[in-house]
Symmetry: C5
C-alpha cells in the first residue's frame, strides 16, 4: 500500500453504470519520510476520508476485494485513514 494525503475529489456523470455512487478521491502520495511526492492516484473511498487526511491506498485487484466493489472497474481504493506512522526515531505522522 501507499501512504497518501487526500487533495480533493473527481466527479463524473458519464461513467460505467457500475460506478454509480462511487466516490473518487484525488490523493497525493507521501514518501517514507513524510514528504509529498509528485505522484497521485484517483481512488475509490470506502472509509469516508476527508481533505488533508493521510490514508492507505491499495492498488490493482486489491481495490475490488470488498463485496460491494467486486464488479466495478476500479484499480485503486482508500482502505484506511492513518492514525500514526512510527519509525525507530519517533513519530513520522500523527493525526
Amino acid at each position: 500500500m501507499r501512504i497518501a494525503k487526500v487533495l480533493g475529489t473527481v466527479v463524473s456523470t458519464q461513467k460505467d453504470l457500475s460506478l454509480q455512487g462511487t466516490k473518487f478521491l484525488l490523493v497525493q502520495r507521501v514518501d517514507h519520510e513524510g514528504q509529498l511526492l509528485p505522484e497521485y492516484d484517483v481512488a475509490a473511498d470506502c472509509v469516508g476520508a476527508g481533505v488533508d487526511e493521510w490514508v492507505l491506498v491499495s492498488q490493482g485487484s486489491a481495490a475490488r476485494q470488498l463485496p460491494e466493489y467486486s464488479q466495478r472497474p476500479l484499480d485503486a481504493l482508500v482502505i484506511a485513514i492513518i492514525d500514526t506512522v512510527s519509525v525507530a526515531s519517533g513519530r513520522l505522522y500523527s493525526k
Copy 2:
C-alpha cells in the same frame, strides 16, 4: 485510476478476434496539478469519450470487469468522462 486527456485513436485490423469492435483511445496522462505528463496509455473505451476530454483510466484486471470485456486481453479502460476535479484551493478542471 489515472486522469488522462484523450489525444486520438489507434486502429488495428490484424488483432485477436475477441477485440473486434473494441475502440482504442490514445490518452495522455495528466498530473495532480492538471499538467500533461510524458506518459500515455492505449485504453479501450466504454463511455464514448472524445478528443480533448479528460477521462479516468483504470489499469490491469480492472479493465476486464465489465461483462462485455471480461474475455478480452485488455489492460486499460476508460471508465468515466470527468466533469470536475476539485482541490482545497478550487477547481483544477471543469469540463
Copy 3:
C-alpha cells in the same frame, strides 16, 4: 496497452513445459509522439507480428485471457498489429 515496435526474438529451450510453442518477441516501447523509448517487453505473440511492425502490447493478467494462453506463466502479449495512430494534428503512424 503500450505501443511498441518489434525488435527481434528471444529463444529458449529450457523453459516451463506449458511454454512449448510460445513465440517470444522483443519489443521496444514507443511514446505518444511516436518516439522510441528506452523500455522494452518480451511478449508472447498471437498475431504473427514481424520485425519493425508497430504493435499493441497488453501486460499482466491480460496476457492470459486467450484460452490457449490461460495456463501459461505469461505477463505480456502482443494483441494487435497497428495500422494507424491518429491524433488531432494528423497521423502519428501509418503502416
Copy 4:
C-alpha cells in the same frame, strides 16, 4: 519480490472491517547491491518481522494468497525474513 528493510509501523483505527488485526509495516526497499532506495511499501506482515530486519515483500494479488488474507484489500505482504543474500562475490547480507 523486493528486498526491503523494516522501518516501522502504520496504525489505523478507521479502516475496512476486513482489516481488523492486520499489522501494517513500513518497509524501505533495498537494491541489488544492498543499498537503501528512496522507495517504500506499506505491507501486511505474516511472519512477525521486526524493525531493521531485511524481508521479502510480494506485491499485487500475491498478497492475498494466504487463506486468512484472501478477502482483504491488500496489495503488499511481507512473506519472509531474510537470512542471507549471496552473490558471486560473496555475502551481500547476513542476518
Copy 5:
C-alpha cells in the same frame, strides 16, 4: 517478461509455510541492448537457472500459473533460461 541475469540467491528460514522448498534467485534486469540495468527482482525458480545465466522473468499473477506455485504468495518467477536474443542487426546474446 523481462530479460535478467542471475546474480545469486536469497535464503530465508522464517517464512510462510507455503514457501518451504521454494528457491529464490536474485536477478538483475538487462535492457533491450543487452546492458545491465540498476533494477532487480527476487524471483522463484522453476527451471534450475544458475549464476550468470540470462533468464526470462514473469511478474505478477503470472508467477502463480504453474500448479505447484498456485497457492504461494509469489509475484515473480523465472520461466525460462534464454538461449539467444536476436535483433535485426544480429545476435544480442547467445548462451
